[in-house]
Symmetry: C2
Subunit: 132 residues, 2 copies
């Protein structure tokens, strides 16, 4: 079976211990600290932008097959892991859409944080609104 | 330096050779074939849903630092890799928002494909509309 190795491009920094459950209900501000060697990759990101942050759920225990079906805290039914945002996933990849509050050097100040302090960031992409 | 190992949960199947540049401009239909052991994780995904598909850019050459700044084909300026959707990224992770045309067993028929045949899929998440 194929496998793919990823390394962090940076990490999340927040002093808050009480992290909201999901970015859609978060107003929490914090920072993404990008590893200095990747700093040039931020060119074009500016204050007010929405960005898609892809990260590693570093606090999740190894995946077990009983987690294929889960009952989310805020939904009253059993759901497949691929239809919910649980941190317990076959590949522990997280995705949050954050707002850029400020950006300087290798630091992006962001709002809507729902990750723990120290969360490794794997990628940042532009957020693209769906035309429906 | 930390590193994280991911394995495919399935792969993209399409007979088309001419793959659109981006899901936002694609009407292409194809399939996501989920590895049978993860099939239960699809519970709750239904026809008409939009899903976020996270995948591995398996055709991308290894990343080199000159790719931190790129000129996208459709944009007339140099941009940082984290502000564009290029397949040449420090971690070659792709993200497309696809529409579920049908779902049965371990197969999701989808529209808006912008991945090559055989692309390894790493995760599927619900698409969440931003309330702005």
């Amino acid at each position: 079976m194929e496998q793919y190795i990823f390394k962090p491009i940076g990490y999340i920094k927040t002093n808050t211990k009480n992290i909201p459950r999901h970015w859609t209900i978060s107003d929490l501000e914090g920072e993404i600290i990008i590893n200095p060697e990747y700093k040039d990759g931020l060119k074009g990101i500016k204050k007010g932008d929405k960005i898609v942050v892809i990260f590693y759920f570093h606090k999740s225990p190894p995946f077990t097959y009983d987690k294929l079906i889960q009952k989310p805290a805020h939904i009253n039914e059993q759901r497949g892991v691929f239809s919910i945002c649980s941190p317990h996933r076959p590949n522990p990849i997280g995705l949050s859409v954050l707002e850029v509050v400020d950006i300087f050097d290798n630091v992006i100040k962001v709002r809507r944080i729902d990750m723990f302090d120290g969360t490794p960031v794997l990628d940042i992409k532009p957020y693209i609104e769906i035309q429906s």
